[in-house]
């Protein structure tokens, strides 16, 4: 082997070892904090869907302790069967393989408890936008029909276009819209060009689309409808049983 070649291999090997050691150390050190931030963000999104203010008096986002306290005080989670919508007693999300939730074989439902009564319901929603799977939460009022709030927290849509689904002004439009009317699930829609252009008097189950993000909007409407129908099987038993 030539001397130059030996140097080449030694150098390449050293670079690989040093760089991988550095990066794996950094990734390991930062992992816990990253996971914490992801989990905190997810929980804040649940609260925000429930219609809660996720900012404290100083205008800062609620921290881990404040968020966990609200979860412990008011939020109860139950697991439903993805096919039948049946309540699976005694299960919590901690017992499940995350894949079962992701593939919607099992459904997670958050109930808001107030004075011993369940007054609000929130569940994860997800589906395809233009480029990516969009994840969010949707909360319903006690009537199991009216949207209290919706959030989207993870997606890979185009910044400035599809990514505008994260904006408050867009999400606020969903509040008060109906997913259930006249005894059946309503056809929820995101309308390109704006609701008022097609329905001058407004529409109970439609919101304005985003300019330059038609496909993202259509995707959102599609998976909101699909996910609501999954949970509706369980909601029917509540409606019937009271």
């Amino acid at each position: 082997m030539l001397k130059a070649d030996r140097h080449l291999f030694t150098f390449a090997l050293t670079v690989c070892v040093v760089v991988s050691a550095l990066l794996s150390t950094a990734a390991t050190l930062l992992k816990d904090r990253q996971d914490l931030m992801v989990e905190l963000d997810r929980k804040r999104n649940v609260l925000s869907a429930f219609g809660l203010d996720i900012y404290d008096e100083d205008g800062r986002r609620l921290g881990v302790e404040a968020v966990d306290k609200i979860f412990a005080d008011n939020i109860r989670e139950v697991i439903l069967d993805g096919q039948t919508g049946e309540l699976l007693e005694g299960l919590t999300s901690a017992d499940l393989d995350p894949r079962e939730l992701r593939d919607k074989q099992k459904l997670l439902l958050y109930k808001w408890e107030e004075d011993g009564e369940f007054t609000r319901f929130a569940f994860p929603i997800s589906g395809l936008g233009l480029w990516s799977t969009i994840y969010g939460y949707l909360a319903l009022d006690q009537d199991l029909a009216t949207i209290l709030g919706v959030t989207f927290y993870d997606h890979g849509e185009t910044p400035g276009l599809g990514a505008e689904i994260e904006r408050d002004w867009w999400q606020e439009q969903f509040e008060g819209k109906k997913l259930y009317a006249d005894g059946e699930p309503a056809d929820f829609r995101v309308i390109k060009g704006g609701v008022s252009r097609r329905y001058p008097d407004g529409h109970p189950s439609a919101v304005d689309g985003l300019s330059g993000a038609t496909v993202t909007g259509e995707g959102v409407a599609r998976f909101i409808n699909a996910d609501f129908r999954r949970y509706n099987r369980y909601f029917e038993t509540i409606r019937e049983g009271g």
Binding site: L8, F11, L30, P159, G160, L161, A163, S211
Partner: protein, 200 residues
């Protein structure tokens, strides 16, 4: 003007990486919809470019010529991953907004360009200055483009409303072609003012 000062000031105007060399256009188009994103991008690029210049310059006599570029890319990519991971841990909201574009610093031609053109041939001191100068030259331009796009497109600057609520927002400014137009105007103005262009 001293040679060292010139290393820093040159990329600000006469040899600006974006407007004169027309490098780094991809990110100049992608992350300039909002000033905040452009600002974080500018900081991230400054860190990556300055560090990569210094590291490559320190290793310049050891790096074997035949694998020079692979080594450079490994160093640049590692720095970018470090930035990306740190943003995710400490600036979660921002990292989500910038999404893929932090990782794309790896392919920013300015970083590789400075490594090849300067750091491999100069000692660490001047390489540091060269990295800083080019970062600032890049930052100034993307912040200008973002300012134009955010004001025209959304009526805000750094999220603060500067045009009345009634302003509709120009859809073109939000899209990539809007960035091309604004960047084109900036290049036009700069070349006219400094009279620094080749006229064939």
């Amino acid at each position: 003007m001293g040679a060292r000062t010139k290393i820093i000031t040159d990329p600000l105007s006469d040899n600006n990486p974006i407007t004169i060399q027309v490098l780094g256009i991809c990110s100049a188009l992608a992350i300039t919809v909002q000033v905040e994103n452009a600002f974080v991008m500018a900081c991230a690029l400054t860190f990556v470019l300055t560090s990569s210049n210094v590291i490559i310059s320190l290793l310049r006599k050891q790096i074997p010529g035949r694998i020079r570029m692979i080594v450079e890319i490994s160093i640049i990519a590692s720095l970018v991953v470090l930035v990306d991971q740190t943003l995710r841990a400490f600036f979660f909201e921002l990292s989500r907004q910038l999404s893929i574009f932090v990782a794309l610093i790896i392919t920013n031609c300015i970083v590789m360009g400075r490594a090849e053109a300067f750091a491999t041939q100069n000692p660490p001191g001047p390489s540091l200055l060269d990295g800083l100068g080019n970062s600032i030259g890049y930052s100034v331009i993307i912040l200008l483009v973002a300012t134009g796009r955010e004001i025209l497109g959304s009526g805000t600057w750094y999220g603060i409303r500067v045009l009345p609520e009634a302003y509709m927002g120009n859809g073109l400014a939000v899209l990539a072609p809007g960035a091309f137009l604004i960047l084109g105007v900036i290049i036009w103005i700069q070349r006219t003012v400094t009279n620094n262009f080749k006229d064939d």
